[in-house]
Structures are given as C-alpha cells and as structure tokens.
C-alpha cells in the first residue's frame, strides 16, 4: 500500500521549495547514511558537509524530535537524564521513502520564469532605464565577486588536499567545487549582456543616452 504514503509525501513535499535544501532533508539524509549516530555528531556532520547552507547549530537537535513525531525516524537509544544530545536515531521505511522522493524530485521543476530581473525589464518604463542598467551592472559585479569567492574555495581545496587518487565521496564533492565558479561566471556574463544591450538601447534614445549606464 504505497499510494497513501506517497500522497502524504506529496502534501509534505509541496511545502518545500524544490530548488532549496531543507534542513529536515539534510538531517534525514545523514541519519540514513549514519544510522544510530548521536544527535551531537549528526549536528557536527551537518555543519561540516553543508557549510554554505549555514544551518543553525541547533538544527539537528530541533529537527530530529520533529522527524520522530512524523515517523520519519525513530529513537534507538535514549540517553539518561534530560540532555538529548546523546540520543541516537535511525530512519524508518517511511523516512527513507520521503528522502528518496525529495532526492529525485527535479530541482528546477518550475523553470525560472519568474526571474526577478526578467520582470523588471518587462515592466521598465523609459525613464527607469538608467536605474535598471545600474541594477544589472550591480548584479554583474555581485556575481563576479561570488565567482571569485567560489574560485578561492576551489583553489584552497586543491592546494590543501592530498594528491592521491580521490575516493568516491571526494570526487562527488569536487564536482560542485568546480561547477560553482562556472555558475557565477555565467550569471555575471548574463547580466553583462543585459546591461550592455540596455545601454545600447539607452544610447539610441535622445536625452536618455547621456545619463544611462555606468561609464
């Protein structure tokens, strides 16, 4: 009888933005990977494995009891006293199924048709064009800085890691380290193209051309 469970999942999943990584899924994923681990250790793993997600230190402590109430995990060991950090959990079959449903849901199921810049360009009035160009330039600069940050992260990683052949986990993690700079570079390029073209349009409009753009 898988169908009712899947319907429940569908309701649960609909609250989750598919493009984001919810804390509950990250915690559940680690519990599946490391069953019967302590709450404290799961919290440490969360911080180490998903550094950039900036989960709160208390995420594992608050999420695990909630997942237990929803029967996604169950407690395999209750530590004596009131300190719950030594409790241990493992995933239920329902939890496993929720996790796998999230894992294989297309992260960009809804294409980015509601891109903020797209809407602003569409609704831009002639007199707003110079400010819109400034915004596109600013976004280009922010993306370029984030590119530099991602490139720095990759550089640090390659400088400090060992030169021996990478194991599976390291290879998978390195894919994102290499892909992130490309993402920000392409985003920066996109806003550059937008700003360049809007500037060209502004230059062609008398009275507006002189005030438009950065240079």
């Amino acid at each position: 009888m898988r169908r009712p469970i899947q319907l429940a999942f569908a309701a649960e999943m609909s609250r989750v933005n598919p493009a984001e990584l919810p804390g509950s899924m990250a915690v559940l994923g680690i519990v599946i990977e490391q069953p019967n681990d302590t709450v404290t250790h799961i919290g440490q793993c969360l911080g180490r494995r998903f550094t950039r997600a900036r989960f709160a230190r208390s995420t594992a402590h608050s999420t695990l009891p909630r997942l237990a109430r929803a029967e996604r995990v169950h407690r395999t060991h209750q530590a004596p006293g009131s300190d719950r950090s030594k409790d241990r959990y493992e995933a239920t079959s329902g939890g496993l199924e929720v996790f796998r449903a999230w894992m294989f849901e297309q992260p960009s199921a809804t294409p980015a048709l509601r891109d903020a810049m797209y809407g602003r360009i569409e609704l831009c009035r002639l007199e707003d064009l110079p400010r819109l160009i400034e915004m596109a330039r600013q976004e280009e600069a922010i993306s370029a800085d984030l590119y530099a940050e991602a490139a720095f992260r990759l550089r640090q990683h390659t400088a400090t890691r060992q030169r021996d052949p990478a194991d599976y986990a390291r290879q998978v993690r390195e894919v994102l380290l290499y892909a992130d700079p490309m993402h920000w570079a392409s985003r920066s390029e996109r806003y550059k193209v937008i700003a360049d073209r809007l500037e060209e349009i502004a230059q062609e409009i008398p009275d507006l051309g002189s005030g438009a753009g950065r240079d």
Binding site: I142, Y147, A148, F152
Partner: protein, 254 residues
C-alpha cells in the same frame, strides 16, 4: 636601465591591432598583467577575443603596437630575430592545439625544442624526452605517430613538448579546450603541477571557466580589454553575506 622584477612575464599597457583594408582592427587595448614564478594565470575569452594574439605578443613572436613586454627583466620589444629566437628557446615553452604533421613520432615532436640551438648530446636529449614522457604517463606512446593519438594524449604531448626544456615561462593557447570537464580538471592540475614543481610561471588562454581553474589569477578578455575576475593570490574571501543581502536589496525579498 630596466627595473629588476620578480615576474617572469610583464605586459604593461600593451596595444595591438591589425590593418583591415582602410581600418585598423583593435585586438588588445591597454593590456597589463604579470605572471610570477610558480603562478598560473588564466585569461578567459570567447573566440575571436584576442587570446591567441595576447599569447603571441607575450612570446614576442608578434610585436606590440605600443607598450612593454618583458620576460624576466628582458624587454622583448626591439630585440633582433636572433635574440628573440634565443629567448624562445631558453625561456619560453609554448603549447598550442596545432600539432605537428600527422606522421611525426611523439618522441621526435617532444624533443624538437631541444634539437635546435642547444649543445646537448643525442643521449641527453633522449633522456630529457624520456623523463618528461614518463612524468606525463606517455612512455607507451613515444614511438607512435601523432595521427594515432587520442585528443587527451595530444594535449599531454603538447604539454610535454612545451615543458621539455624546463622553461621559465609556459604559454598555453587554449590547449585543453574541447575536453570534457573531468579531463579539463586533470589537465589544469597537471599545469598546476608544472608551476608548483618546476617553478615556472604559466599564462594560459582558455575559452571557458572550467578550464581556467584552479589558477592563481583569472582575467576575462572582452572587447580587447582585460578585466580581473579573481586574484586568488590574495588571502581574501568575499563576504558572502554582504553580497547576498545586497542582492536581496536590489531585487526585493521575494
């Protein structure tokens, strides 16, 4: 008297253009950059943005219209052909994707920079070639003709030829373009190894960012001008929060 510098390559205010009928096509506009020993500097640009021109100017094989090009402390502008040929032989390793004539054997192609203008015995040359082929895991291909090599092997052979004479400056003209991401990673790490182990400075022109990293410095060549994308020699991490907040402020919290 030229200033003493720590850089293996210094381009300072370089302009370069080509005559196209009555017009002058400007390819490089006020380009300045430096490459230090042990440093990998990448220049990213689309096709026809002037990457090859930049590398040819950097090697001295194409004279700049204006500006200064120095390899170490030696100004290349104004050198005679013989002096320039000597710099190319002793100081610079150049790799392109051109490759040799199809029947040329790997061993002979890689050894080419050692064959001209050097007082090396045949045995020494052979040893140096064998060493670089072994370092790049190419020993098994030494007697193969160029036409029988895979794309990946051709990249490695180009790198082997460029480094066989242990140059101070390595110029790579989009050598790893066209490879898949995994191979690009592997190739850039080999290049990184040249910089770390041989201490040479590397200037590489690439057509995408996947081939540019991990470098110490990444420039974008666009419309003939260089724009600094990342200087990773500075121990600097951009405050991510500030940018995200800035971004949200621009686009509104939605």
């Amino acid at each position: 008297m030229p200033a003493v510098t720590d850089s293996v390559l210094t381009l300072d205010g370089v302009w370069k253009g080509f005559d196209r009928g009555d017009d002058r096509l400007r390819v490089l506009t006020d380009v300045s950059l430096t490459v230090a020993p042990g440093q990998v500097v990448a220049v990213v640009g689309n096709r026809d943005q002037g990457k090859t021109t930049l590398l040819r100017v950097a090697s001295g094989t194409l004279p700049a219209d204006q500006g200064s090009v120095r390899v170490g402390d030696l100004e290349l502008t104004g050198l005679s052909d013989a002096q320039l040929a000597r710099v190319l032989r002793t100081e610079i390793g150049l790799a392109t994707r051109a490759g040799p004539e199809l029947r040329v054997r790997v061993r002979d192609y890689v050894g080419l920079p050692l064959a001209v203008g050097r007082w090396l015995r045949w045995r020494e040359r052979r040893l140096m070639v064998a060493e670089v082929l072994s370092a790049l895991d190419l020993t098994g291909t030494a007697d193969l003709p160029w036409r029988e090599l895979s794309d990946w092997q051709r990249v490695l052979v180009e790198l082997a030829q460029a480094t066989v004479a242990r140059p101070r400056l390595l110029l790579l003209d989009d050598v790893i373009g066209g490879l898949g991401l995994g191979k690009k990673q592997a190739a850039t790490e080999i290049v990184r190894g040249f910089a770390d182990d041989l201490g040479c400075g590397v200037l590489m022109a690439v057509s995408d960012h996947a081939a540019a990293l991990p470098s110490d410095c990444v420039w974008q060549l666009d419309g003939g001008r260089l724009k600094l994308m990342a200087d990773l020699t500075q121990s600097r991490v951009v405050p991510l929060h500030r940018h995200l907040e800035e971004g949200r402020a621009w686009f509104g919290a939605s």
